[in-house]
Amino acid sequence: MIAGLAYVEIGIAVVVGLLAVVLGLVGRRPDDISIGATALVELALVVQIVVAIVAPLVGNAPTGDLVEFWIYLVTAALLPPVAVLWGLVDRGRWSTVVLGVASLAVAVMLWRMLQIWTVQQA
């Protein structure tokens, strides 16, 4: 995991999360903005998956438990699609909040992944 990239990803997830929560609370249904922003978070996670596969091969190995890391990463990558699916089926303002909650959860999980990779002792 690359720390700088991880911080950017966490930043994206936090901003998108807060945006969607606010949009939902003011009564917006899931629309191109909230779903597009959530897709951006998913894109960041796909980038992270590629990085997590390549990094150990080029000498950037995790200090912590790689299994735990991947459980977090795979679960995180499932959250935005599930939230978007929810938003497409159930078109209410609260689904927009759900999109935001998913992105905020992704931010927390990315933070935890970074900890596992950089500071957790195996």
Partner: protein
């Protein structure tokens, strides 16, 4: 909000699964995933090292899963299950939280409820309070009179 028609065959959901309740279900679902993941990892790797906190993690996972299910299922009896599991969650986060502050050596390994859920941004402390308020608001109507003295 009122301009758009509601879907023709809206699925039969409990009152507690509408509106804000959906966010609550998602939050409980996330905690269920988090607690289950942590618990499976702990039980599979080194249960002997800390049986008490690891058993608590497993218990937390079960509580969160049942609470999530109870929020979704529309049957009235499940409203009570939701109250019991979420009340249980509140009780445990307070008891375990206090114990971990008073005597940290009791719980050498973290649980979701350690230090009032500090490692989970205090979500385990705030969520049951919000959840119980929500359940009060969405109490099943026919049972209102009967349950008024019971909880």
């Amino acid at each position: 909000m009122s301009a758009l028609p509601t879907p023709p065959q809206a699925p039969q959901l409990s009152r507690r699964a509408r509106g804000f309740g959906r966010v609550l279900i998602v939050l409980y679902g996330l905690l269920a995933i988090a607690a289950t993941g942590r618990s499976v990892l702990q039980l599979a790797t080194d249960f002997e090292r800390a049986p008490l906190p690891y058993s608590l993690s497993a218990l937390a996972a079960v509580v969160y899963i049942v609470a999530t299910v109870a929020l979704v299922i529309p049957r009235e009896s499940w409203w009570r299950v939701a109250v019991i599991t979420i009340g249980f969650e509140l009780l445990f986060v307070l008891v375990v939280g206090t114990l971990t502050v008073v005597d940290p050596s009791l719980f050498p390994q973290k649980t979701v409820w350690s230090v009032y859920g500090m490692y989970y941004a205090f979500v385990p402390l705030v969520l049951p309070v919000v959840g119980l308020f929500w359940l009060r608001r969405t109490r099943p109507v026919p049972a209102a009179a009967a349950a008024a003295s019971g909880d």
